[in-house]
């Protein structure tokens, strides 16, 4: 059946800020869907609150709204745009839940809008774990014994009945949110409280454990006629008990027989039908008993997902695109397979390679957080490795993690790192084999399927072969077929990496680039989606005149995420517009940049110097763009230049001037810029000497760190000692510690600019809402600045341009500056596109990435006409909001500091600061309490300032409470304020009050290690119970402005396209 003609305009719901469990894979799906629907001639209205996405680029949809994903805002958009339908299956759990809410509140009915892909019944059937069980019963599928629990009392009974361990799985949450494994009644009771709290419907499925079973996932598609296909089968390396998002997974499945697999496939089909999924993609998770083969269903999601993005990249089958086309009425057989261009889409991809996904974690960012994996997802990103064998793909995936050149460096085995699932388990298993452990002993500790362990052991055994013999061309080839990096081969054969590489090139042991073609070679295909393998003979790529490679940003991690994918994807388009062919290189399956139709050539490869340079040789590219993918490409740039490749734009010298702190400071002094006083210490004594000179507080950081790792504000001598004690392993003579004067209370700004040979365009000055000392990625921001005086802002711009000129930037430059008492200090320069670029672009409408491309290609002033771009020209205010993953790390503190911790951002646009703040905060999941008690615990210097806020709150009808000092201060100022004990003053204390639900907002400012530790429980209680907790006075002020705005209940929505016209 062809397209449904009555549908002319659709609304697509995005997934909001990046959070653990819901990341940029939904940008990939949404973008793909928008492109497909636009091509069909539909009008596409897109709403997402996340400005870092590619889908919110005005070119992707007819109308793009960056607004909170909440009913009132969506209603307003619907009222304005009048779409015939909403597609809720592309924006993850957020979009499904939002669609349900729109339905329940009657918005869809009121405007006569239909839901495409999944209707409320389907969403409920899949998400309500009890309804889902009924469906499983109907089709005869099995599942672990379980009870749906709605109250604590009922829960305790159920626990005793089922026995321990127990699995808690809340309804309607994402990434296993609020769930977990309870091994004892005690653990169970505390987890139950939390789980009930996390479920929007206060329902938790309490289930008997199937820990240790083999876990599988099927990615399926169905059209309105009932045609049903499996796109991909995924098998987990980690058995049940580790969330699939945190598991190492491989595709296609390897250890099920055809009979077992077909039975699973049949069951998947029946479930999809019974759930009533009309069209689109879905995934179903199964567990299989390792001995008896018994099979149970874990869950199903009636939408595209993280795993469907992975499946799309693993197979070449664009699930989201097809889902969108099915939603508007097409049938699978009517849609052509993009890759073969001759066959239809109603088939099942055949793979002649193996794909391995490995998640990337961020435990080190959350001091105190225990590195343990469970049914609640904790990873922040993932990589995918493609190889002809599991071993080759595993090694490539490990190298893609960008942790170590050797993939598996020598480490010291810790038994508990093997027996308890954790982020380092694979590395400890590998090392254990090196140390002579047996497969049986590891299998016993991990319950991992022996087949996988044998494969890993095979790699280690081959290390032995390499060590024992002198390196021949044949051995070298065998090592490469197993995915060994040159660096690992070099260490094992006692050679240098360069020697290995030279021998490899001499002996012509070179990678071959093979196509991902969806059909294992059965049909010809011209889609340029490649992976490297040493299992085939190299094939030549045709040479092209203007061909450039753009290096992507690798796995998402805190500090480097989707924002850089935005830059890369826009960069690809920018170069293409200028007539260039672009090779995209990246290892992250969640991204738009690794969609096979983004660039002219896609190389799905690790971003290491070795893999990148082999691609550049094979693809005959000599120019590389390293400015768009964040720090990853910057790090490989020196190696590439050494091999004779050319960087587009800024050269190595420029990069070095910006990155090398010593050289950077020297230039700043030369330009008469103020910089914080600083020094470098190799040990504590050195540090004490420096502090004597510059005075406390100071900010300490070891050199060679990323994203503010180990960076801390140190307030006094005692803390300095403690800092050196805690970080001694990161500080040494050749790795000194940088100590800067800490500009307490300074206003921080981010500047993004592009410089061409004779021009500069400043994209904007983003004023941080939190003071300097909170990492630029963690502070909220506003454009245009609200507190900065115009002259100072102008001065910031001038200084930025001077710096760009002085270090010879061609292309992007990002700067952070701090302003204290009208003095401007230069903090840091990044010679590349930055995290803030997409926000600035969407706030100001200046196409910074296109300008960057023009700069790199040498376009002059006349051509670029930089005077066209004035970042203050748009009316209104834009606020950047931030989201944090503290909920997932129950032992971690939520206080903000110079080390970045946020996973994602949102954007709010408004006619004034208040409206923008309100939207930005709503979008970053802040809840505004309508009434209730506000609890304060303030450090001395904030008290006076916060008094105003307290007064306003009282006036608005809130009551006050505080710890002793703060309470007395308020009382002296004539405010009524209840007084609560601090934790060390005995019970009941303030945390008891918070935990028992008596408080609806907390304002808690502290500094100094000691007080921070003392107030930890306050912040933790807030995180656990989703109570807004403000830890910075500036943030509190901003919150109040937003809170007032919410009471006005007035807001407008505008599309980016409409803004462009203003």
């Amino acid at each position: 059946m062809p397209r449904r003609q009555e549908i002319k305009k659709v609304l697509i719901l995005g997934s909001g800020p990046i959070v653990i469990g819901q990341a940029c894979e939904f940008d990939y799906s949404g973008t793909q869907a928008c492109k497909a629907l636009m091509k069909e001639g539909l009008e596409v209205v897109l709403v997402n609150s996340n400005p870092a996405t590619i889908m919110t680029d005005p070119e992707i949809a007819t109308s793009v709204y960056i607004e909170p994903l909440q009913v009132p805002f969506i209603e307003k958009i619907i009222e304005k745009e009048r779409p015939q339908a909403v597609i809720p299956t592309l924006g993850g759990q957020t979009a499904l839940n939002l669609a349900l809410a729109l339905h329940k509140e009657g918005v869809l009915q009121k405007y006569n809008v239909q839901l495409l892909g999944a209707d409320p019944k389907v969403i409920e059937a899949a998400e309500d774990r009890e309804l889902f069980r009924d469906i499983l019963d109907k089709v005869g599928a099995k599942y672990p014994k379980s009870h749906l629990v709605r109250t604590f009392e009922q829960g305790t009974q159920v626990g005793d009945e089922l026995g321990y361990p127990l699995i808690l799985r809340p309804n309607y949450t994402l990434g296993g949110g609020g769930g977990g494994i309870a091994y004892s009644p005690e653990e169970y009771q505390s987890m139950l409280v939390q789980a009930l709290h996390e479920s929007p419907t206060t329902e938790v499925l309490v289930e008997e454990s199937i820990l240790g079973w083999k876990e599988y996932e099927l990615e399926v598609m169905r059209d309105a006629a009932g045609t049903f296909v499996i796109i991909c089968t995924i098998e987990n390396f980690d058995p049940c008990g580790v969330h699939t998002g945190d598991s190492i997974t491989i595709a296609p499945q390897q250890t099920l027989s055809d009979r077992e697999y077909q039975a699973m496939r049949d069951e998947a089909g029946k479930i999809i039908n019974e759930v009533g999924l009309q069209t689109g993609g879905a995934n179903i998770q199964f567990a299989v008993h390792p001995k008896t083969g018994e099979r149970v269903v874990i869950e199903m999601n009636p939408r595209v997902s993280r795993s469907s993005a992975l499946a799309s990249k693993a197979t070449g089958f664009p699930i989201a695109k097809i889902a969108a086309l099915l939603a508007i009425g097409y049938r699978l057989e009517e849609i052509q397979n993009d890759i073969t261009k001759t066959t239809p889409s109603c088939y099942e991809p055949a793979l002649d390679y193996i794909v391995t996904k490995i998640p990337r974690f961020a435990f080190e960012k959350f001091v105190g957080a225990r590195d343990l994996l469970s049914t609640q997802m904790k990873s922040v990103g993932e990589v995918m490795g493609i190889g002809r064998t599991f071993q080759e793909s595993l090694m490539k995936a490990v190298l893609s993690l960008e942790k170590h050149r050797e993939g598996f460096p020598e480490i010291t085995v810790e038994v508990d790192k093997i027996s308890y699932p954790n982020s380092q388990r694979l590395f400890h298993i590998y090392q254990a084999f090196r140390d002579g452990w047996t497969i049986e002993s590891l299998q016993e500790l991990t319950l991992i399927t022996p087949w996988f362990l044998e494969q890993v052991k095979g790699l280690v055994d081959f290390e032995g072969t390499l060590k024992a013999s002198s390196l021949t061309a044949d051995l070298l080839l065998q090592a490469k077929k197993r995915g060994f990096s040159d660096a690992l081969i070099a260490r094992l054969t006692k050679k240098t990496e360069i020697e290995v590489r030279e021998m490899r090139h001499q002996e012509k042991v070179l990678p071959s680039y093979q196509q991902v073609d969806t059909c294992a070679g059965e049909f010809a295909s011209s889609t340029p989606y490649y992976y490297s393998t040493y299992w085939s003979k190299p094939v030549e790529l045709p040479r092209a005149e203007k061909r450039v490679a753009i290096l992507g940003s690798g796995p998402n991690r805190i500090g480097q995420g989707i924002e850089f994918d935005y830059s890369c994807v826009r960069g690809v388009k920018g170069y293409q517009k200028k007539g260039w062919q672009v090779c995209m290189i990246n290892s992250n399956p969640e991204t738009v940049s690794t969609d096979y139709d983004t660039a002219d050539y896609l190389f799905f490869e690790p971003l290491t110097e070795e893999h990148v340079s082999e691609i550049l040789y094979a693809a005959k590219v000599d120019s590389v763009v390293v400015q768009l993918g964040g720090q990853t490409p910057i790090n490989v740039a020196p190696g590439l230049v050494k091999r004779g490749f050319k960087l587009m734009g800024s050269d190595l010298e420029t990069i070095d001037l910006a990155e090398d702190r010593g050289r950077f400071n020297k230039i700043c002094r030369e330009l008469n810029f103020k910089i914080p006083e600083s020094g470098m210490a190799h040990d504590l004594q050195g540090a004490q000497g420096i502090v004597e000179r510059i005075g406390f507080p100071v900010i300490c950081r070891p050199s060679y760190v990323l994203g503010g790792r180990r960076m801390e504000v140190v307030e006094n001598a005692e803390e300095l000692v403690s800092y050196f004690e805690r970080h001694q392993e990161a500080i040494s003579t050749d790795r000194p510690c940088l100590i800067d004067q800490f500009l307490a209370g300074a206003l921080e700004v981010d500047v993004d600019l592009v410089r061409g040979k004779d021009w500069v365009v400043v994209g904007g000055v983003v004023e941080h809402i939190e003071a300097a000392g909170v990492h630029s990625g963690d502070s909220q921001g506003v454009i245009p600045p609200q507190r900065l005086r115009r002259e100072t802002s102008d001065k910031v711009e001038v200084m930025s341009q001077q710096l760009a000129d002085r270090i010879g930037v061609i292309g992007h430059l990002n700067l952070q500056l701090a302003i204290k008492q009208d003095q401007v200090y230069m903090l840091e320069a990044n010679p590349r596109s930055s995290r803030s670029v997409p926000f600035v672009v969407k706030a100001t409408g200046i196409p910074l990435i296109d300008l960057g491309v023009a700069a790199m290609l040498g376009d002059g002033k006349e051509k670029v006409k930089p005077e066209r771009f004035v970042w203050r020209s748009r009316p209104g205010v834009c606020v950047k909001g931030v989201v944090f993953p503290f909920k997932k790390f129950p032992e971690a503190d939520s206080i903000l500091g110079p080390e970045m911790k946020s996973t994602g951002e949102s954007m709010g646009r408004g006619a004034d600061y208040g409206e923008a703040l309100m939207k930005g905060m709503l979008s970053s999941h802040m809840r505004f309490p309508e009434k209730g008690e506000v609890f304060f615990s303030l450090r001395e210097k904030d008290k006076t300032e916060m008094l105003l806020i307290a007064r306003d709150l009282v006036e608005m009808g809130y009551t006050l409470s505080a710890t002793k000092g703060t309470a007395h201060f308020f009382q002296e100022q004539g405010l009524q304020c209840a007084e609560y004990k601090k934790v060390h003053e005995g019970r009941p204390h303030c945390v008891d009050k918070i935990r028992s639900g008596g408080v609806s907002l907390v304002i808690n400012t502290t500094s100094g290690r000691r007080s921070i530790e003392a107030s930890f429980n306050i912040r933790r209680a807030c995180i656990d119970y989703s109570i807004p907790c403000l830890t910075e006075s500036d943030a509190a002020e901003a919150f109040l402005i937003a809170l007032k705005k919410t009471r006005e209940k007035a807001f407008e929505v505008h599309s980016l396209q409409a803004m462009q016209e203003l």
């Binding site: 296909v229 099920l256 055809d258 009979r259 002809r388 070679g521 059965e522």
Partner: protein
């Protein structure tokens, strides 16, 4: 480990590792199924064929005598990227060795498959040798000898004597099954719906079958070129319109020939578990298991027969149907094994509706 080679009659040569078995020759074909190696190897339709698996890693889940599609392994060789061979489990390797099937791994199967796709499926041999030259010397005579074998492969694969199998449904029909190299699963599918199945050798005459007086006739799958099959076409022609009749794979092609249509060789055949079919009888589109190198030419079908099933990848004939003559032919494998069960309902259609 010994070096092994896959030598094609056209001269191309592919190097890999030899895992045992004896050197043999056959038609070199590729299969894109991810799993089901044991079902494939025991399927008589693979008689005289060297099977190249496009999925790289084979033997991972061991073996299981219960999934056999006949009582032996029929393939002439097994080729893949990597063979499971650990202390814990190398059962698949051993099973192939037990039947002296040559096994080649560590081979660039992708290049070989692209060659087969582009140039068609030639004859070839798997041999072990110290050099390419030696490999060619060993392979060519093997190929020549294998090619001179009697062409009626169906006869070679078929049972030689009549056999009766008791069905599970006493009220069900008696089904005559003309065995062209029948996969056990066709019988497994029919038994629950039939009272008795009579399995007849491929060269059985119409009279013999008539004597047995079946209610329905099933023509099984089988190896080779339908044009080389003796006797069966004539037998089937006489049965057209006599009793409801269904042919599967080779059975479908023989039915086609009996109906007066022509068959032709596909460039590289269809072998895998992922082929989409449009089925007008059940009115569905689904994914099927396939294994055939020949197809029926739709232009040569008589007017009372319609093309009821189409392979959506290349629009070739995947099934024919005649209401008038109560017969149907299905080019793929509704009995699956390996592959999806989506077309399974065709058996019910045959038994209850045709």
């Amino acid at each position: 480990m010994k070096q092994g080679f896959c030598v094609l009659e056209t001269g191309e040569i592919y190097r890999g590792q030899w895992h045992g078995g004896e050197p043999r020759a056959g038609e070199v074909v590729f299969n894109t199924s991810h799993s089901g190696y044991e079902e494939i190897a025991t399927d008589p339709s693979y008689y005289t064929q060297i099977v190249v698996m496009t999925a790289p890693m084979m033997g991972n889940y061991g073996v299981d005598r219960d999934v056999w599609e006949s009582n032996k392994l029929w393939i002439q060789g097994f080729v893949c990227v990597q063979m499971q061979s650990s202390n814990r489990d190398q059962a698949w390797l051993e099973r192939l060795r037990e039947f002296k099937i040559p096994i080649l791994s560590d081979l660039d199967t992708r290049s070989l498959v692209l060659r087969l796709r582009q140039g068609g499926t030639p004859w070839g041999a798997l041999v072990h040798a110290n050099s390419e030259a030696e490999a060619i010397d060993l392979a060519m005579p093997l190929i020549a000898k294998e090619k001179s074998k009697d062409k009626d492969w169906v006869f070679a694969a078929s049972s030689k004597e009549f056999q009766s199998r008791r069905g599970e449904k006493p009220a069900g029909p008696r089904i005559a099954l003309l065995d062209f190299g029948c996969k056990e699963n066709i019988i497994r599918e029919l038994l629950p719906m039939a009272s008795e199945i009579g399995v007849f050798p491929s060269r059985t005459t119409f009279e013999k079958i008539k004597e047995w007086n079946p209610d329905r006739v099933m023509l099984s799958n089988g190896p080779g070129d339908p044009a080389d099959v003796q006797v069966a076409v004539e037998t089937v022609r006489q049965m057209i319109g006599w009793k409801p009749m269904m042919g599967i794979c080779m059975g479908h092609q023989i039915l086609g020939l009996a109906l007066g249509a022509k068959t032709y060789k596909l460039k590289f055949g269809h072998r895998g578990s992922n082929h989409p079919i449009k089925d007008d009888l059940l009115n569905r589109i689904y994914v099927t298991s396939q294994n055939h190198g020949y197809a029926v030419d739709s232009a040569t079908l008589p007017s009372y027969v319609r093309v009821s099933h189409v392979n959506l990848n290349d629009q070739t004939v995947s099934g024919v149907f005649s209401k008038e003559k109560r017969c149907m032919g299905i080019q793929y494998h509704p009995e699956s094994h390996p592959g999806p069960h989506d077309a399974h309902d065709l058996f019910r259609y045959f038994v209850e509706q045709l």
